[in-house]
Symmetry: C2
Subunit: 172 residues, 2 copies
């Protein structure tokens, strides 16, 4: 059975999740952030089946997060390097790590501690508003359709209700 595809939903969470495909993919990225570049090394660190790993790496290359690069010509050997969009995914992994450290580590405490070389201190991830730099908290962000929202969906009553579009027109 084909799983539901979220790629065409007008939602960046759904699209991101569609791209990742399954839970192995963030772990492959995590290894890349640890500095892993070669197939055998990904395989050893994750204990993942070779065909599964090959598929996840191909997916990440196709999506532009990793770049396949020849590092040896005789015989031909490849390594996988993070691209700009791949490196930019670090924030998502860091936010996930901090949440897991806070809520899933229990009394044992966090399994891994991150030392932020830029400032020289141990640090966790904090998700803030790009404008005011204050923590971005649930319930403080109101969504509205952006330029990439399909125009025809905006005619649907459920979508209008979701974004409170008719209330906004009333107020103006």
């Amino acid at each position: 059975m084909k799983r539901t595809s979220f790629a065409n939903w007008p939602c960046s969470v759904a699209r991101t999740m569609d791209l990742l495909g399954d839970w192995w993919t963030p772990l492959v990225l995590r290894e890349a952030f640890y500095g892993v570049r070669r197939f055998d090394e990904f395989q050893r660190e994750l204990g993942i089946a070779r065909n599964t790993l090959a598929e996840r790496l191909r997916r990440l290359v196709d999506a532009g997060l990793l770049e396949k690069h020849v590092y040896e010509t005789v015989p031909v050997r490849h390594e996988y390097l993070l691209t700009e969009s791949g490196r930019d995914f670090y924030g998502v992994i860091a936010a996930m790590t901090t949440w897991g450290d806070r809520w899933l580590a229990g009394e044992a405490g966090p399994p891994i501690i991150g030392h932020h070389e830029t400032c020289g201190h141990d640090g966790q991830a904090e998700v803030v508003c790009s404008h005011c730099k204050q923590p971005l908290e649930a319930g403080t962000v109101t969504p509205r359709p952006g330029p990439g929202y399909p125009r025809k969906l905006l005619l649907r009553p459920d979508v209008r209700r979701r974004f409170g579009l008719d209330e906004i027109s009333d107020e103006r």
Copy 2:
């Protein structure tokens, strides 16, 4: 076939992913952040099968991100409210949204724009270091085993190499 369980890995990314289970779960949470509380409303907004939704809600209640609450007694009806840990997951969803807006929206632009009520401006998520408040960038964080890292794993040569443990002792 049972999928690989990541729950016992000493890694908060793996644990968080194990808890979420599949890509529907973050979308259920996204709806909760939009203010959705009732089964039928989750079902309508996501177009998800009722048994799949029931399983995801149960998982989120068991994991402590949602709380099942009676809002009507005759007949008994429940709603699902975000707990403190559930609300705290907002940062992860927000970071994912911003990444998707940046890298997957294409020329059409972001499907949704978020207005940060706290500061009164449209904003995106930025992931910063909790200590210095500077953006947390790939390659700037060095991991080391924390209190929750299994002691016996620290004897393994591959683990010691991963964290550069022997290099650290040499330097001291």
